[in-house]
């Protein structure tokens, strides 16, 4: 599903070069629920951006669902993101002047799906998230948990191969975090690959594998036993 080989990435900081990723080799299979952990500065956000085709890498190879992701122009990158990747962010990143349904439907707008049809599909996804009755509300009328449900619905509506979640529970209380994780597990059980960047241990413990990043390297990968997952539910 996702194959990374020797990924290097550095940024220019003034006259110096900041080497952020120093050779990442990683394979993630289809249908996995993986978390990436690491302290700030470990390169986890950079890695996520590269995985999400939001950023480029300097060296190495990245294959997403068999496609070589390298030197894409912006239009092509936008198209791949739209077709294969769903994003969930810590601060939700919903468009404030659009209601929940329109926010969810937005990825389909860029697929040229008709307004009526994409709103109908959006309602179905909101229903699955259990917030159908909030469809006409704008984000500032929703609670944090509801916003994140809208964002998750939006990430799923284009039926992506992989959902990338950047600290999805970072702005939520523990009860809501728990509910959101349950949603992720449910979506994952349908076969969609999910990668979650987090620094909360109880979130990462509920994923299949935890990738620990440190100073631009993969420090280690721990596999959580299924029992442990069940124990936590």
């Amino acid at each position: 599903m996702i194959e990374l080989q020797g990924i290097h990435k550095s940024y220019d900081v003034g006259s110096n070069k900041l080497h952020v990723l120093k050779g990442i080799d990683l394979t993630i299979e289809e249908g996995e629920l993986v978390s990436i952990m690491g302290s700030s500065g470990s390169g986890k956000s950079t890695l996520l951006n590269i995985l999400g085709i939001l950023d480029t890498y300097d060296q190495g190879e990245y294959h997403l669902s068999g496609k070589h992701i390298k030197n894409l122009n912006e239009t092509k990158a936008a198209w791949y993101r739209n077709q294969m990747i769903g994003f969930v962010f810590q601060s939700f990143n919903l468009i404030p002047f659009k209601n929940a349904m329109e926010n969810v439907a937005l990825p389909l707008y860029y697929q040229k799906v008709s307004r009526k049809r994409r709103n109908k599909i959006a309602l179905e996804y909101l229903d699955r998230m259990g917030i159908k009755e909030w469809a006409e509300h704008t984000p500032n009328e929703l609670s944090g948990g509801q916003k994140q449900r809208v964002a998750i619905a939006r990430s799923m509506i284009s039926k992506p191969k992989v959902i990338l979640a950047d600290e999805p529970t970072g702005a939520l209380d523990s009860t809501t975090s728990f509910e959101v994780m349950n949603l992720f597990k449910e979506i994952n059980s349908e076969g969609i690959t999910i990668i979650i960047v987090t620094h909360e241990k109880d979130i990462s413990e509920r994923t299949n594998r935890v990738i620990h990043l440190k100073d631009g390297y993969i420090e280690n990968i721990t596999v959580n036993s299924p029992e442990m997952n069940i124990a936590n539910v």
């Binding site: 990143n93 860029y110 284009s158």
Partner: protein
Amino acid sequence: MFDLDKWQEIFSTIRKNKLRTFLTGFSVAWGIFMLIILLGSGYGLENGVREQFKGGAVNGVWITSGMTSKAYKGLQPGREVKFTNEDYDLVKGSVDGIDLISSRFWINQDNTFAYKNNFGNFTISPVHPDYGKIKELEVIEGRFVNNFDLEKYRKVIVIGEIIKEALFKYPDTIAIGKYINVAGVPFQVIGVFHDEGSETEQRRAYVPIFTAQRVFSGDNRINQVSFTTNLGVEKSNAMLETITRQLAAFHSFDPADQRAISAWNKAEEFERTMKLFAAIRLFIWIIGIGTIIAGVVGVSNIMLIVVKERTKEIGIRKAIGASPRSVVSLILQESILITGFAGYIGLVAGVFLLEIVSKYMPPSDFFANPQADFQIAVSATILLVISGALAGLIPSLRAARIKPIVALRDE
């Protein structure tokens, strides 16, 4: 091209920033408003002056006899130059390229015209047949004087609309063929004309010049020779010079004497005036476009702020699949919409004001019918769309360069 979703998004952002959009739009509306008013006034001025040129072909040359003001060959100044039919022949024969030619003599006092119990005082103008075309009279009934009338000394008359109204009272009365009494002499009406010029011009009656010479003066005097030429301003000036020299020799006056005869080359004056108006129009466009540029810079500035404010939103859109092109068109269309709509308001307001002015303003010699014609409206509209696109260009390119990772970075 029509994309309802895009427009809905544009409207929703405009609705959120009503005051800002209004202020931006106002500067553009004002620019177009000023342009329309200026152009309209320019046209008004031009129309006014054009009005002055009406009632006569613009390629006409008019030579009128006067009084000498310079001593010449032992002759005292202050002599009257007397034109006769010979001068008509002289002018006609002295140069090539004359298209139409006529002479005219003055009957200075008004004469009483009478038909049955109706009468009035009007002017008699004795002329040659070509005069109708030189003066650009519009014969609305019957015909103008012709050569047979001249040769046969027919007592026929072509009357102005006002005369017909005064003598025949009812507009649908047939005047042609009726005899009217002019200073005691019966003349048969052969035509009725309309003159674009002033009211005085409508109070005239034209009669064959030979008839008039016989009936009213008893000699072969004329006062004016007028002709047209299609050879252009330079040639007509040269013609006029030759004619002046020949007339000077014939009547023994100094060719440089401006008072002996007065010559007016209308084409020359017309051309000079039209050049002046072309210059004025250019000047107006420059000012107008300058004003619009100020508006465009305003819109551009606002759109830059809009893009800055919407950085995050644009970042989100790009992350979930918006291509740079769709982002550019989003900002560009909003900019075109604001300038286009505001400009249209300015356009309508400007045209409206001009209409009111031209309707209620008392007529003046130098200003008539200020108007913005269709062509101006079209050019202004094109100008608007271009300005809108220009105003949105830099902001939209900046929007397209927004990187989602930067835009979405949590503060």
